[in-house]
Subunit: 211 residues, 4 copies
DNA sequence: TATGAATGAGTTTTCATTCAT
DNA sequence: GATGAATGAAAACTCATTCAT
C-alpha cells in the first residue's frame, strides 16, 4: 500500500512526535526513573508516572511509545555513560592499583549522583536478561566486566595484586558488594560516598585480618 | 502485594484440610518459590504456579488463603532457619575469626541448598519492607545483622580484626557480596560452593594487595 | 464513526483558509483515500494519514473538521461522479444492450482510474448505512440502482434480454460481481480493464454453457 | 517488559481453561460471530460481546486468549467445513456441469445457514491477508479456488462449458457474485436461498441475452 | 481436593480531537 | 499552515480472588 513515501514516516523513529532529546522527555524520564527505582518497574503504573508529572496517563504516549521504552531509554543512557566513564578511568590510570581505586571510587560517585538508574539496573537487570529487547543490558554488562577484568589481570601479572586471586570471582565480589550499596546508601545522609569508598577500599586492599 | 482485605483469610489459615505442613502444601510452596525466584514475585501469576503444579489456579486457594500467604510462608521458613543456623554457628565458634569463617561458609551452603528462598529474599526484601504484613522480614534481618555485628565487634576488640574497620559498613559489604552470588551461582555448575567460600574468605582475610 | 458532536464542525466547514477545493486538501484526500482503502477506515488512524503527508496529526484539522469529513468528502465526490456518468451512458445508448455494455465497461474503467474510492465504497458502505451522516451513500446507491434496473427492464421489455430474468436479482449479481473486482484487480498489472470487461460481458451475454 | 510467560504456559495451549470444544465456548463464539458480522470486527468491542453474553468483558478471557482468537476460531471452523463440503460435492458430481451446479447451490445454502461466518469472511478477509496469524485464510481460499478451477477446466475440456472462458476470471466472477449476496440476502425473507440459486444459475448457464 | 465459570478492579495502550504558540 | 503538548474517553487485556458443583 502507498509504498515508500519514506521521509516523513521514517523521521519519527522512537518517541512519537517529541525529539529523542526533548526537554520534556528528559524530565519525564527522571520522574519515571525515580519511581521505577523506588517501587520497582512492574509495581509502578504508567498512571503513577503521569500523576507525578501532572498529566494524564494517555499523554505519556505522546512522548514514549510504551512503558518499556522508558525503561529502555533510562538503562541505555545509564549503561552507556557508565561504560564510557569506566573506560576512561582504566585508560588514564597509571597502575592497576590506581585503576581499581578509580573504578571503585567512581562507582560510589555514580551511585551518589544517579541512584535511581543504578537501583533500576541492580533490581531489574536479572529479569531483563531474558528478553531480546533488553539484550543491550547484558551486552554492556559484559563490556563493563571486561574493563574490570583487564585491570585485575594486569594487577596480578604486575605483582600488585595477590597471585592466587581468581579474577572473575574477585570482580563479582567487588561488583556485587559495591553496587548493592545503592539499596541502603542515602545520598543526603551523613555517610559521604567518598568515605564509603575509603572504607570499601580499605577492606579490599588489606582484608579484615590484622597483620 | 499485601492488597488483601485480610480478615477472612487469616481466620481460615490453619483450618480446612490443608494443615500448615501438609505434603501437597510443601510441594506447592517449592514450585512457587522457584517461580517467584526466577521471574519475580509480581511477575509470577497464580496461574503460572497452578499450571506448573498441574491444577487450576482457583484450586490453589484451597491450600493458601492468598498469593501473599505463599510468599510469607516461604520467607518465614527461610528467615527462621537462617537465624537459627547463624546463632548456633556464632555461639559454637571458638574465636571471632572462626565465627566469621563459619558464617560465610554456611551462607554459601544455604545459597547452594535453597537458592530460591535466598533469591526471593534478595530480590523482594527491599519492596517488602514497606508493608506491615512483611515487617517480620525486616525484624529477622536486624537479628541476623546483630549476630554478624557481634562477631565483628568481638574480633576488633580481641585484636583479630583490624581496628579501623567500621563494623556496620564491613558487615554490609560482606552480606551484599555474599548473598548476591545467588544471582549467578549455579548449584549444579563446576564451581563448588565450598570453593567459592574459600575464594571469598581469602579476599576477606587478606585483601587484594600482595604484601 | 460519526461520533462527533457535529454542530461546530459543520459550521466551520468552508471557512478558514482551506477552501473546499484547495490543492492541499485534494492532495490530503488522495492520501486518505488510499489508506482508507488499503487498511480500512477504522484501521487507518489520523496519524497514519498525517505521517504519510509529512505533517503532524493535529495539523490535519486545519484542513478537515474531522476524520469523518474526509470519508464523507471522498465518498460524496465518488458517488456524485458515478451517478452522473452512469446516467449519461444510459441516456446516450441506443439500445438496452448497448446501455448495459456501456455501464459494465465504464464500471471497470472507474475501478481502474479510482480504485481507492471504489474499494472504500465496497468495503465500508455496509457499515455506513446505519449513520444518518452517511445516508447520502444509500441514497445515491438507490439512484444508481434505478439506472441499471431501467436498462434491464427496458431490455426485457424489448426482447433483448431473456424474459425470465428477475431484474433486481440480475442487477445485484452484476453489481456485486463487477465491483468486487476492485479487491483483486491490479491497475498496473497485465490484465487490462478493457479485457476484463470483455470477459465479464461474454459471460453475461451468453452464460457458461456451450450451445 | 517482554510479556512472555513461557514454560508452563506452553502446556496450556489455546483457550485458557476451557476445552477447545466446550459448550460455553461455542455459545460465545456464536454471539461473537453475529456481532463481528453485523458491525465489523474492529467496530465490535469485547465488551459488546460480553454484554450480549451476560458476563463481564474480562470473563471472556477465561474462554479465549484474545479477541483475535475468537475471529481465528470462527474463520477456521468455517473455512474447514467449507472446503470439506466443496470437495465432497466436486468428487461426487457426475459431470462438470452438475459439479458447478452443486457448488453454487451449496454456497447459497451455506450463506443461508451460517450467514455470520460468511459475512465475516467476506468483509474481513481482505485486511486479514497481511498478518501471518491469519495466513490460514488465504491458504484455505486457495484450496477452495482449486476445487472450482478444476471443475471449470474439466467442463471446458469436456465441451460442457464454452471454450473461450478464462477459468480464473470466470471463477472470480461467480465467487464474488455469489458470496456477496450475504450482504443483502435475508435468511428469514421471502426470497428462498434455493430460488436465489436458481436465478443465479440461470444467468450463469445461459447469460442475459435472449437467443 | 479439584473444576470451571465468573468477578471486579486495575493495567497498558489507542486515538480523535483541541489549542496555545 | 503547522507544531507540540495535552485531553478524555474508550479499548483490549490481566489477574487475584470467589464460589457453586
Amino acid at each position: 500500500m502507498a509504498t515508500t513515501k519514506g521521509g516523513a514516516a521514517t523521521a519519527r523513529k522512537k518517541g512519537a512526535g517529541a525529539g529523542a532529546g526533548s526537554a520534556r522527555r528528559t524530565q519525564l524520564l527522571a520522574i519515571a526513573a525515580e519511581m521505577f527505582a523506588s517501587r520497582g518497574y512492574t509495581q509502578t503504573t504508567v498512571r503513577d508516572i503521569a500523576d507525578e508529572a501532572g498529566i494524564l496517563s494517555g499523554s505519556l504516549y505522546h512522548h514514549f511509545a510504551s512503558k518499556d521504552e522508558m525503561l529502555t531509554e533510562i538503562l541505555q543512557d545509564f549503561m552507556g555513560s557508565l561504560l564510557r566513564q569506566f573506560r576512561t578511568i582504566a585508560e588514564e590510570a597509571g597502575t592497576p592499583r590506581a585503576a581499581l581505586d578509580g573504578l571503585v571510587r567512581s562507582s560510589f560517585e555514580i551511585i551518589h549522583r544517579t541512584p535511581h538508574a543504578v537501583a533500576l539496573y541492580q533490581n531489574e537487570a536479572n529479569f531483563l536478561g531474558s528478553t531480546p529487547e533488553f539484550s543491550f543490558v547484558t551486552k554492556a554488562s559484559r563490556q563493563v566486566e571486561k574493563v574490570w577484568l583487564d585491570v585485575l589481570r594486569a594487577g596480578i601479572a604486575s605483582g600488585d595484586f595477590r597471585p592466587e586471586l581468581e579474577p572473575t570471582t574477585t570482580y563479582r565480589f567487588i561488583r556485587d558488594g559495591v553496587w548493592s550499596t545503592v539499596r541502603w546508601y542515602d545520598p543526603s545522609g551523613r555517610l559521604q560516598h567518598g568515605t564509603l569508598a575509603d572504607q570499601y577500599l580499605a577492606i579490599l586492599d588489606g582484608g579484615l585480618l590484622a597483620s
